[in-house]
């Protein structure tokens, strides 16, 4: 074999284990256990018979089964906090498992290792959101306080990230919230050394550099992006160089390389230098925290340095495989983590790809190899395809490297003398400015960042196989020209298949159905109308703005991209409350938006009529609930009434104006508030189905029991986004299907009077 895999004994093990971990969701533990037992027996028998190749296969299958068992969720212990009956308000005592994270003004997230609840001992981890300005807390500190326990929740939308599901998989089905004034610290051990080092480094940087540059350097050195202004952060993403803001193998390699070469130059001897570099790398990992990318780089770095120590050759791929095995054995859930996937894919791409010689071409080769390897991952998680990235990296990465080395030097010096540290920080300030200028420039290039639907897993598989075959084509082209030709042709075929499948959502012809989705955005409204002719309008974009999670960016944009919607025919904000208008800024940033629904006229989209029922002369910015825009949507025999947040006053105005109100589906006004949906209004609307867009545990008590009773009295079937997740209505004008996304329950209704559905 001319491929190098026989010299990478750990790679098949890592791949087998990863496959097992990935399959754990589909394989039952009992089945996997049987597979382990069978493969062990068979493997042993084959070994005795001297049949090595089949024995290898058997044992690899066994390892995969072990991976599946390892990744299967363990049942929670009987005293686990996750078994607590929620919701409940209880006194919780526990120790901070990590440093607190301040994620918004007066919002802090801490992770508690629970010790007791009330008087009973309890175990398990509990994420707690603290309201108010939190006192200085630190990892390892014991705290107690009155907390409100509830089930972990997230937004449940097609193609959306469900934080609640994520927490449940991590063994934290219960979360808590508490006010800081109800929390008391039971001891004060003071921060651990690694936290002290991190804080001191940040303070030293902030003392000398202006705020934005300081925040950028904190990102480069420590992966700490909390203080980075959003537009700068966004610029790095658009320029395709976001990876420099995460601590990665790059930082670790720089540290190891710098310590090793300086000590070698100081004639300390290679072994001493290697030991010191290992210590520096481990220390750095403790300071920046156990991100998957850091762990990967540390394992590989220690392996390479260890090889120097033992005077042996190190195989980078072997190190990569070992890192994967170790991380997955300890934290199998990391396999699905974008950081893990990006880090391993990029490294594997760089190591495996044939790279041209020369500084410029070599760097471009590295950049392109990494981009090709992470492309499906970036599309899958973030819908992002960076076109400028390979070029922008050529300038940004060297600058980031220089800034990182100088920054480490500056921070180290600053531990002894502030003035000395300031000199080196000043020296790297122009580098930071140059990097920011370059990033701003690259981010401004039209089409620098393209958003596309997340590819289907078959497309990703075809793409991966295509890359491997392309590698074979290159490796074999001199030794085995015949194989090389075959591999080349197959690679091309696979890539074509991958692109075709990946592009399908974009080119798919419209299916002639109207799809109206009431998205789960918590307490707020976001409705996407996809017309039979493929055009899409959005009525309200959910909560957003500075102080909360922006559902425009987090829920609507991914939903639209994943449905192949890259531009909107219209975006309308019914009134100016943040729970309806907040997300629209993000949509305006990411989509080109047509002028449909901008005026008071009815619009037609492929047989669908959208009719504004209210007219307001109030300018945008001053529309309150009763000024909200109301729309009627009609397609064949199926109709919808979208009532935004209107109250009794606007309802009576609509009734007085004899607006056409009778519909099949009512989007209940104002999240089901008591002051809306008055009996005369409901009497006129007579909805067969009613959908309430409302957040779980909202402080307003929506939907009100009164409203629910009134709706029930009209005979309407009720859907709620707080229980059902996104509610999806699909119709061809006669048959109507309703999907509750949280449970994937589908109901069929027929509106053809002759029953022809």
């Amino acid at each position: 074999m001319t491929l190098s895999w026989p010299r990478v004994p750990l790679a098949p093990l890592a791949v087998a284990f990863a496959v097992g971990v990935a399959a754990s969701g589909w394989v039952r533990v009992s089945v996997a256990a049987v597979v382990v037992a069978v493969t062990l027996v068979w493997g042993a028998s084959l070994l005795v018979l001297g049949r090595l190749a089949p024995a290898t296969g058997c044992l690899l299958a066994g390892l995969a089964a072990v991976g599946a068992i390892r990744a299967s969720p363990w049942p929670l212990a009987s005293d686990h906090i996750g078994r607590f009956d929620v919701p409940a308000v209880v006194q919780v005592t526990g120790r901070l498992a990590a440093e607190p994270v301040v994620f918004a003004a007066e919002r802090t997230r801490v992770l508690l290792n629970v010790e007791r609840v009330g008087d009973e001992p309890r175990t398990g981890r509990l994420p707690v959101t603290l309201y108010g300005v939190a006192p200085p807390l630190t990892e390892g500190q014991r705290v107690a306080g009155e907390m409100r326990l509830h089930a972990a929740t997230g937004f449940r939308n097609p193609g959306g990230f469900d934080y609640g599901e994520f927490l449940r998989r991590e063994g934290m089905p219960v979360v808590a919230s508490a006010r800081v004034d109800r929390l008391i610290a039971l001891d004060d051990p003071g921060p651990r050394w690694n936290v002290r080092v991190r804080r001191a480094a940040r303070e030293a940087i902030a003392r000398t550099l202006p705020p934005t540059s300081a925040a950028l350097l904190s990102g480069l050195l420590l992966g700490d992006r909390a203080d980075l202004p959003p537009e700068v952060d966004d610029g790095f993403r658009r320029a395709g160089v976001y990876h420099v803001l995460a601590v990665s193998g790059f930082n670790v390699a720089l540290i190891a390389g710098a310590v090793f070469s300086v000590l070698t130059l100081a004639r300390c001897g290679r072994r001493v230098a290697a030991v010191a570099a290992i210590a520096a790398v481990l220390g750095f990992a403790f300071v920046v925290g156990p991100e998957p990318s850091v762990l990967r780089a540390v394992v590989m770095g220690v392996l390479v340095l260890g090889a120097v120590l033992l005077e042996r050759d190190a195989s980078v791929l072997n190190g990569l495989a070992l890192a994967a095995l170790l991380i997955l054995a300890v934290r199998p859930n990391d396999l699905a983590d974008p950081g893990f996937q990006l880090s391993f894919a990029a490294t594997a791409g760089i190591v495996l790809a044939p790279l041209p010689r020369g500084l410029v071409w070599g760097s471009l080769g590295v950049s392109i190899a990494a981009q090709l390897a992470v492309l499906p991952i970036a599309l899958w998680h973030f819908n992002q395809l960076s076109t400028i990235g390979p070029i922008a990296n050529l300038g940004v990465v060297p600058l980031a490297g220089l800034a990182t080395i100088l920054g480490l030097l500056a921070v180290t010096v600053a531990f002894f003398t502030d003035a000395g540290g300031a000199v080196f920080l000043d020296a790297l300030w122009p580098l930071l400015l140059a990097m920011r200028a370059l990033v701003t420039l690259a981010a401004r290039v039209p089409g620098a960042l393209v958003h596309l639907p997340a590819p289907h897993w078959t497309a990703i598989t075809a793409y991966g196989l295509g890359l491997v075959l392309a590698l074979g084509w290159w490796r074999w082209r001199e030794t085995r020209p015949e194989w090389s030709r075959w591999a080349g042709a197959l690679a091309l075929g696979h890539l074509v298949v991958a692109v075709t499948i990946g592009a399908w959502p974009l080119v798919r012809p419209p299916d002639g159905r109207l799809r109206l989705t009431v998205l789960d955005v918590g307490q707020g409204d976001a409705i996407v109308i996809q017309a039979p002719d493929g055009r899409t309008v959005v009525v309200d974009a959910g909560p957003g703005g500075g102080m909360r999670l922006d559902t425009g960016a987090r829920v609507l944009a991914p939903f639209l991209w994943n449905h192949g919607v890259l531009q909107l025919a219209g975006l309308v904000t019914t009134h100016d409350d943040q729970d309806h208008a907040g997300g629209s800024a993000a949509l305006r940033r990411e989509f080109t938006i047509g002028d449909q629904l901008a005026g008071p006229e009815r619009i037609w989209m492929g047989g669908v009529s959208v009719l504004p029922l209210t007219a307001t002369d109030k300018p945008a910015g001053s529309r309150r609930n009763d000024d909200a825009l109301v729309f009627r949507v009609d397609y064949g025999a199926v109709s919808f009434l979208l009532t935004s947040d209107i109250g009794a006053e606007a309802e009576s105005r609509l009734l007085a104006a004899h607006a056409p109100l009778a519909v099949t589906v009512l989007k209940v006004a104002h999240h089901g508030a008591r002051t809306s949906s008055t009996p005369p209004f409901l009497e006129k609307v007579k909805p067969a189905l009613a959908v309430i867009s409302v957040g779980r545990r909202n402080p307003y008590g929506h939907p009100s029991p009164d409203t629910l009773a009134r709706l029930a009295a009209t005979g309407a079937r009720i859907y709620r986004t707080d229980r059902d997740g996104a509610v999806i209505f699909e119709t061809d004008g006669f048959a109507l299907t309703v999907t509750r996304w949280a449970t994937r329950e589908v109901e069929h209704f027929c509106l053809d009077p002759d029953g022809g559905c």
Partner: protein, 165 residues
Amino acid sequence: MLYTRPQLVLLLAVLTAAGAGLAVGHWRAHHPELVERLEQLDRTPAVAAGQPGGAIASPSAASGRESAAPIRERPRAPSSTERRGRPAKLTAPPVEAPSPGPLDLNEAGVDDLARLPGVGSGLAQRIVAARDEGGRFASVDDLRRVRGLGRVRRERLRPLITVGE
């Protein structure tokens, strides 16, 4: 020689950094307003960035994802096995808004016809062509002379259309 070549290179690098640092530090101290302007190079005023009231944006909202690593569920269309049970029958409310009453096949233009569910512009044009060629429609069933308008589709359209005298 006192130093080797690589050692001198290292010394040179450290001296360059220190010298540059001192120079930049002095320059910064003397030109605070220029420093301020340079620092604004990639900043946009909060209003222009289109974030209502968003000078203080939450870092988690800005960084594009939760600090905890998100794993996303894939979009999944409801499979055919999930579509169980017979469709429930709903009575349709009067179709009030789109057209005042059913559409008159003998008066409607291509645009009106194309607004009927399941009727695209091609089919609408064929309907008008059939009317122009073969005369007015005598009944809804008379639509059978239009290519592509089978019995099923006619029955579905029946409540929405009528035939004028």
